[in-house]
């Protein structure tokens, strides 16, 4: 049943392979059409062939010149980067403590953090909005990113991974006189880099694609993130589909690049966190 692919021996497998592969190509058709249309000039938009007759970067030039996409891109990039660094640091620190320290109340803390996983964003946006309004965080980077600076998912993931770090190693470092923070930073953390890379990718992509909260907390165009900017831009340009597709491509291409470069880590990370979480 799980033999290698040998067409001569099993024609049924050719059929299966062809169907599954065709399905995969259908899955990425929207991307192909999006990118192809973003490379078409105004006159060619209604022509649905996949390879543009006269590919041009005119739409991209126009987009970056006439709209604030460049600004939104930088906003998204800064916000996603800062959130990722913060999540990596605090989630791994908290996960490490919950895994490796024995102290009263550990279980309570862990359950409390775990329970936050059950609370969806939708439940929190009203209080977050009120909080941001009262503290002057509306329309600021901090306002967009503060809810995601530490995540329960990451704490849980890192705690699981620190189980693989032997206690003896930490005790040895302690006997050598390393400070508690340096044990975490120099001994334990380097041993969980696969988990850190998975967490980094998920956090970055999650922040890049986030929609509901950035939509609520920003109300001036210069503070939009890419998805929110795209929604407002597309609403205005509602008939110029080549421009909308160009905007969609700008919003999507970074995620595609991340995926193509880091595919292996991403799939492994999904399986580990998905199956365990």
């Amino acid at each position: 049943m799980r033999l290698g692919f040998d067409p001569r021996r099993d024609p049924r497998k050719i059929l299966i392979w062809t169907l599954v592969a065709l399905g995969g190509i259908v899955m990425i058709m929207p991307f192909l059409f999006m990118i192809s249309t973003s490379l078409k000039g105004r006159g060619e938009v209604y022509d649905l062939r996949l390879i543009p007759l006269a590919p041009t970067l005119e739409n991209y030039a126009y987009l970056f010149r006439e709209s604030r996409f460049l600004r939104w891109f930088l906003n998204s990039f800064a916000i996603a980067s800062i959130s990722t660094v913060s999540v990596l640091f605090f989630d791994s620190l908290a996960g490490y403590v919950l895994c490796k320290y024995k102290f009263k109340g550990r279980q309570v803390v862990f359950v409390a953090i775990l329970s936050t996983l059950m609370i969806p964003t939708e439940m929190l946006v009203i209080p977050w909005y009120v909080m941001s309004k009262n503290l002057g965080w509306l329309n600021t980077y901090w306002g967009i990113m503060f809810p995601g600076m530490i995540t329960g998912f990451g704490v849980f993931l890192m705690k699981q991974f620190f189980e693989t770090v032997p206690d003896a190693l930490i005790d040895a470092a302690r006997i050598d006189g390393l400070s508690e923070f340096r044990i975490f930073w120099e001994v334990a953390l380097p041993l969980v880099t696969p988990a850190l890379s998975a967490l980094a990718i998920f956090t970055f992509l999650g922040s890049w694609t986030a929609f509901l909260w950035p939509l609520i907390v920003t109300n001036s165009a210069s503070n939009y993130t890419v998805p929110v900017g795209l929604a407002s831009f597309s609403g205005e340009f509602s008939t110029e589909w080549n421009m909308i597709m160009t905007g969609a491509a700008v919003a999507t291409i970074p995620t595609l690049v991340v995926f193509i470069l880091l595919q292996k880590y991403i799939i492994r990370g999904v399986i580990l966190s998905g199956v365990k979480g």
Binding site: I16, F31, F33, A94, I126
Partner: protein, 298 residues
Amino acid sequence: MRAWYRSRTVGQKQAVWAWIFLALPLFFFCAIRLFPTSYTAYVSLTDWNLLRPKNYIGFANYLRLWNDPVFWQVFWNTFKYLAIGMPISLVLSFMVAYYLDQVRFLQGTIRALYFIPFLTTAAAMAWVWRWFYQPVPIGIFNLMLVDMGFSQQPFLRSTTQALGSILAPAIWAGLGFQVVIFLAGLRAIPETYYEAARIDGVGRWTILKEITLPLLRPTILFLVVVSSIGFLRIFDKVYNMTVDGKGGPLNTTRPLVLNIYQLAFTDYRMGYAAAQTMVLFVVLLAVTAIQLRALRSK
């Protein structure tokens, strides 16, 4: 201070450091997650509209939503997203994973093709699909229909077709994640089970029904819950695929989250929006609780 620290036992020193390291994360979780949850519950019992001070009005908001036809319509829409989307996406992703598991040639690449939509910006993809649904000569679906001799369809402009038209990209986007998880589950089934079955001369269909599916039960349950929660929280796609993000035509595609968003951040009816949020929260908790129970029963 230093002398006090030195005189502690190893265990006490550890506890001190544990709380120092946990202080900020704990403060964060209390201030940003746990406290706001109770705050939403409290707001749902008030008539607050951001302008004037809140008045406690007991369960009046819940009584109002019980009698609010829009709420029931939205609730029903959300249920439709779940009841149609979840089974279709699970069956499709299982079929893909089941067959993909049987071929080795370029398996990783094909899996990647299915997975890509899951990672990309949902808002952007919603616009791509919105473009696909446009009438002739813009939208590809209608062009294909006309080419094949069928009549044009209104898709997003129709009260009967719009919900399904939004559901399609939602299923498309989530499929790859489920395929990856199903594949992992399929690979975890020991080869010996299949060999034993084959030696006994059991057919493919029986193997699937008697071995594969029962052994995949935890995976299936996990995916049922994850995808149910995903469909219950649908928002980005509807916001970006309907005119002005209103969930039209005539609210026929508007899900609960979009309704909450509109109530809270366009109409500023915070109290009423909070009450609807509580309903969503309870539904999500119930779905998770059912999973935990089902897992424990086996």
